[in-house]
Structure formats: structure tokens, C-alpha cells
Amino acid sequence: MNRVAVGVAALVAVVLFGAGYVVWTINRPTATASSGGASGTGLRFVDQSDGRNRVDELAPDGTRTAGSLRCQRVYAAAGTTVCLRLAGLGPSYEVAVLGGSGEVLKTVGLPGVPSRARVSASGKIVSWTVFVVGDSYAVPGGFSTRTGYLDLRTGTVVESLEHYTAYIDGTPTKRDNFNFWGMTFADDDQTFYATLGSGTQTWLVKGDITRGEVRTLRANAECPSLSPDGKRVAYKKRAGTLGAWQLFVLDLESGEETPLPGSNGLDDQAAWLDGSTLAYAKVPQGQAPAIYASAADGSGEPRLLVSSASSPSPR
């Protein structure tokens, strides 16, 4: 009997502690966000300091404005904003597309954890990538990705590119372990660049949504980001099979590849803040992720723009 009484008392104590902890967490005052460094053009990003994932803005002079939108991943162009976010208990994430005055134009349920999001320069095409976890048919604990897009001109939603025809070095190839991630659109709102993965191989691919096809351009290049002038692509590239990623900029005409020094260890689809500046998130050792900016011509070391933040986007 004594034993049961002690057991019940211990259970009650743990439940009370848990309930108290929940109440304390909900009512905990949130830390005031630090302002960032001056950036020339300003940017939008997801705050990572207090677990609410607010989308904040940084003005060119470094003044920070707190936003009300909450996203895990955000990107904006020409008045269109894409926000990948938690969507309650059901299908747990969704992509929300917002118009110029913040009104929700469209939501689509997501089959996995938000990873990348882009809006084409015209604001007409919105694309996203999610990690599908537990989808570990390749290696135990492995992952696969789903990349989809929304064409606001027609309202068409394509939830996955896996039915696209893939040309590897010019040869049409079909493999069931193909995964696509990190789309970026050109000015014609038709041509795009993305990553194609199969097993441990990755390629930078150039694709066309009207023809439903992709062609490989080069191996070992992920999460491309097309420059505003459409002439350069920034992507991350791995040193070795499991080495750290580094950011590179490829001149599409000459094929010349420029490494961005000091960007080692990033895992992001970089964002062009203007024609010569790339912003990306990276985790300083043992800290929360922070947003850095690098010169696209490979000159100089990265500059810290905002600490405790991720998902940089032009304003």
C-alpha cells in the first residue's frame, strides 16, 4: 500500500511539474530581437530567437521591424509572398501564398517538413520544396523531397515534379529514386533551374514547366538561385560525399565557377539581395542560425546581417 501511495505521489508531482512548465513557457516574456547590420537593400527573414518564427524586416539602414506573419520559410517578390508554415494537427504544414496587402491567395497542404521556397521575379510563380521524412526507402533514416509550384496566372498547382522527363547528359533517364529540390525561375516564368538527386548523386538541372522536362547541366550542385540578370546561378556544392557545403556562383555563359570564401558549412538556397550580394543562413558553431551576406564575385569574407534568423529574402 505504501508503495502505491509513493508511486501515486510521484506521478502527481511529475504531472504538476509538466503543467507548471507549460504555463510558464506560454507566459514567458519574449526576448527583444537584436537589430541587424546595414545591408544596402534591406531584407526579410524568419526570426529564430523566441520560437515564434515571426517574419521580420530589416531596412537598408539596419532598423528592424517586427512582422505579424509566422513562417518556417519565407520569400517575396513583386508583391507576392510565399510562406511555408505549420498548419495545426492535420497535414501538419502548408504553403500559403499571400498577395500585396497580405491577403491569402491560396493554401496548399504539404506532405513534409518545409525546406525551400521561391517566388519568380514577376511574382507569378511560387515554388517550394519539402522534406518527406520517414520516407526512408533508400537508407534507414534517409529522406526524400517533393518540389511543387503554383502558377498564379492559371491557378495550376503541381505538387511534385517526379513525372518530369529527365535528361542526364542528354540521355532520357527514368529512376524511381529521383528527387527534385530548390527550384528557381527565370524571367520568362517558364524556364527554371533546380537540383536533381538520385542516391548520393546530385545535378544542377535546367528545366521547362510547359514541356515538363529537365536537363542536367553539371554534377554536384544543389539549391540553385538565379541572379536578377539571369546570367549567373549561385548554388551550394559539397566537398566530398559528406563534406561541408560551400557557396559557388556559376557564370552560365562562360561556365566559370567562383567559390565564395568563408561560406563553408551553409545549408540554404541563397537569395540575391541585389545583382551583387547573396544572403544565406548558416549556423555558427554551437549557436542559433544567422544570416550572412557574401559578395557574388567572390571578393571578401561574409558579413553577419542578422543573428538568430533564417530564410533571407529580398524585401
Partner: protein
């Protein structure tokens, strides 16, 4: 004893199943809430909290999963040797509970995260065999199927509640990592308390000979144990991973990829509803027969993945069959194994059968993943159907002389 064999035709299992089964079911329910909370949270945590590559983590995870499977054998052996099943299980549950608090401490280190996960796995490996042995030692032999059925039902309820708890925290409280880990720790601690205060170590079974490594390993010379281990291993080799089944099902059925995330819920729901009734049926009509029938049901599910049926009908039928497969095999294998192993070697014996099956499934999932590099889904499934059919025939021939009843 003629009297013992003439039990009433209709038995009420609730009154006959010992309290230990329900207490251990509660321990597993609470522990599974805790474990699945973290499993559901890890991808978000790694990708957003730490900006860590999931691939990097996946490779480590695969290595640790294989390495810690061996710890099941250690847990089973030590529990028998010391005749302290409850103590060994407490150590395993306690270790897993503590790891929940270690996650925020190791931060964004792939090896740190991998190490914490390995400790969590080690805890799970160590506790599984002693816990199943305690269920079997507390339960009369003619109710073993029902007992394991009840335990697996409660266990699966916890597994379903865990992800809900995580998403409730993320959506309504905060996306900061600490609260998920602290709440997960609280559930794990509740499980440890229930085990410590409400479960009794089964009385010692007056061992005829002392438990030794030689005798534990010698279980494989016992015909029934050896055949069961081989048969479960062969069928395990022919079992495609759940994730693989769900991905193929989504493609073949043509439903939206968003539903992929909910497919495991479908399987788990059928599993938890059917585990207890099928366990009772297994007690009446033969536990091995039920285990075998479960794999025939799985074969049907695989065949459907090839077939002409598509859409929601295919999803519903396949997930129902997949859930029935788990209900007919997961606890039932332990119930069957328990009847073959003498009480003083129970935990060692069960751990041998479990480890064989788990390793076989690991090999199979790696094999199917490797095949996808060269074959399409359709071909891989066709191969899966062929291999499972062949495995069923081989196992039928292997077991026929041993199991007449």
C-alpha cells in the same frame, strides 16, 4: 490434469489477464508518447533549429540502428542471468528518459545528436526483451496472445498520441526546441514511475540449472526456437519497409502526396484496433498459424500494389491489410516464442527471436533502397511479391513438421 483442459468455452480475458500486462501496457503507452514526440520533432529540429543536413544525420542513424540491435541480446541475457527483469527494464526506460534532456545540450553536432539517439536506441534495445519476458511470465499460457495483443494496443495508442502532442506544442505554444524535449521527458518519467511502483518482478522460477551464456546461446539448438528464429528472419528479409510501402501506395493510388504523412496513422489505427482480438484468436487457433496468416495478408497487400485497383479504395484496403499484418504478427510472435522457451531463459530467448527479425528487416530495407537505383517501383514491388511468396513456401515447409496444432 483433465480439469485444467476443460475450461469454459467463453473466457472473459479482462478478468483473466494479470494486472502486470496492463501496467506494462501503461508504461509502453507513456514511453511511446515520449519517443514519438521526439521522432516527429527531429526533422524540424535538425532542419530549422540546427540547419543540419538530414542526409548527414540519416547516415549516422543507419549505423547506430544496426549497432544497437545487438544490445537486445545483452538486455535479455542479463535479465535472465540476474533474474531481475524489472531492474534491467528500468535501466533501459530510464536511459531513454534521460536522453530526452540531453538533446538541447549537445546542440548542432551531428555526432552529438547521433550519440544521444544511440543512447536512446540502446535503452530501447535493453528493455524490450525483459519487458516482453515479464508479460509472458505473468500470463497463463492460454492467454499469451491476448496479453501481448493488449500490450501492443496500448503501445500503439501512445505512438499515435506522440506526434499529436508535438504538433500541439509547435502550433499552440512555441517552435523553440526545449518545451518539446522537456514535455517528452515528463512522459518518459511517468512511464518509469509506473514501472517502478506498479509492476512487480515475476517470482523466480526456481531454475533447474543456472543461466549461462552457453545455455542462452544453446537455445538455438532447441528445435522450436531455432526454427522460429529462422522463419521470422526469412519472413523479415521478405518484408519491405513501411516507408517503401507508403511511397508506392501513394504513387499507385494516385492520391495527393500530402496524404503520405497520414498513411502511417491508418496502419497504426488498424493495428491497435485489431491487435487484441487477433491475439485472442491466436490463443484459440494457434499462434504460429496467426503469425503465418499475417504474412499471407501482407502478401495480399503487396499484390494489390501491382494491381489494377487505384484511388481511395486501394489506399483503404492496403492500409487495412498492412495494419492487420502488424496486429497478427508483432505481439503474436512473442506469444508464440514464449511457449517454446523455459521461464528462466525467457528474456534471452525472446531477444534472440526479436534480434533476428529486426536485423533481417534492416537488411531488407537497405536492399530495396539499393534496388531503386536500378529498378523502378513496379519491378521492385513485383520482386517483393515473389520473394515474400517464396519465403512463405519455405517457412511453411520448415515449420510443418514442428507445428502440428
Amino acid at each position: 490434469m483433465y480439469v485444467a483442459s476443460s475450461r469454459p468455452a467463453k473466457t472473459e480475458f479482462r478478468t483473466r489477464l494479470p494486472g502486470t500486462v496492463f501496467a506494462l501496457g501503461t508504461v509502453s503507452l507513456l514511453t511511446d508518447i515520449s519517443a514519438e514526440m521526439v521522432t516527429a520533432f527531429l526533422p524540424v529540429y535538425l532542419l530549422f533549429g540546427l540547419q543540419m543536413s538530414y542526409l548527414q544525420f540519416g547516415v549516422l542513424d543507419g549505423i547506430y540502428t544496426g549497432a544497437t540491435a545487438v544490445l537486445r541480446l545483452v538486455g535479455g541475457y542479463v535479465a535472465d542471468k540476474a533474474n531481475r527483469h524489472k531492474t534491467v527494464a528500468l535501466f533501459g526506460y530510464g536511459l531513454s528518459a534521460v536522453t530526452k534532456l540531453a538533446f538541447p545540450l549537445v546542440g548542432a553536432s551531428a555526432f552529438g545528436i547521433g550519440g544521444v539517439l544511440a543512447a536512446d536506441r540502446a535503452g530501447k534495445g535493453v528493455r524490450t526483451a525483459p519487458r516482453d519476458a515479464m508479460i509472458s511470465l505473468a500470463t497463463p499460457e492460454d492467454a499469451l496472445g491476448a496479453a501481448f495483443g493488449v500490450h501492443r494496443t496500448m503501445d500503439t495508442i501512445g505512438a499515435l498520441l506522440g506526434p499529436l502532442a508535438t504538433f500541439a506544442v509547435l502550433a499552440w505554444m512555441t517552435t523553440s526546441p526545449e518545451p518539446v524535449f522537456v514535455i517528452s521527458f515528463c512522459f518518459a518519467l511517468l512511464g518509469v514511475i509506473v514501472l517502478a511502483f506498479f509492476v512487480r518482478q515475476p517470482p523466480p522460477s526456481a531454475p533447474t540449472r543456472r543461466v549461462s551464456l552457453r545455455r542462452s546461446a544453446g537455445l538455438l539448438r532447441v528445435t522450436g526456437v531455432r526454427r522460429t528464429t529462422i522463419a521470422a528472419g526469412v519472413l523479415g528479409l521478405a518484408t519491405m519497409s513501411d516507408a517503401f510501402v507508403f511511397v508506392v501506395l501513394q504513387r499507385v493510388s494516385g492520391i495527393g502526396p500530402t496524404w503520405l504523412a497520414l498513411m502511417p496513422v491508418g496502419t497504426a489505427a488498424v493495428f491497435l484496433l485489431a491487435a487484441t482480438p487477433l491475439g485472442k484468436l491466436a490463443d484459440r487457433f494457434g499462434r504460429w498459424a496467426m503469425f503465418f496468416a499475417g504474412h499471407v495478408v501482407l502478401l495480399l497487400a503487396y499484390v494489390l500494389l501491382l494491381g489494377p485497383v487505384t484511388g481511395w479504395l486501394l489506399v483503404a484496403v492496403t492500409l487495412a491489410l498492412h495494419g492487420l499484418f502488424y496486429a497478427a504478427t508483432d505481439g503474436v510472435l512473442m506469444a508464440h516464442g514464449a511457449t517454446l522457451i523455459s521461464p528462466e531463459l525467457r528474456a534471452s530467448g525472446l531477444s534472440i527471436i526479436q534480434t533476428g527479425q529486426a536485423m533481417a528487416r534492416l537488411v531488407s530495407s537497405i536492399g530495396f533502397g539499393f534496388m531503386l537505383q536500378y529498378l523502378g517501383f513496379g519491378t521492385a514491388v513485383a520482386l517483393g511479391v515473389t520473394v515474400l511468396a517464396a519465403a512463405l513456401v519455405a517457412v511453411y515447409l520448415l515449420m510443418r513438421p514442428a507445428v502440428k496444432a
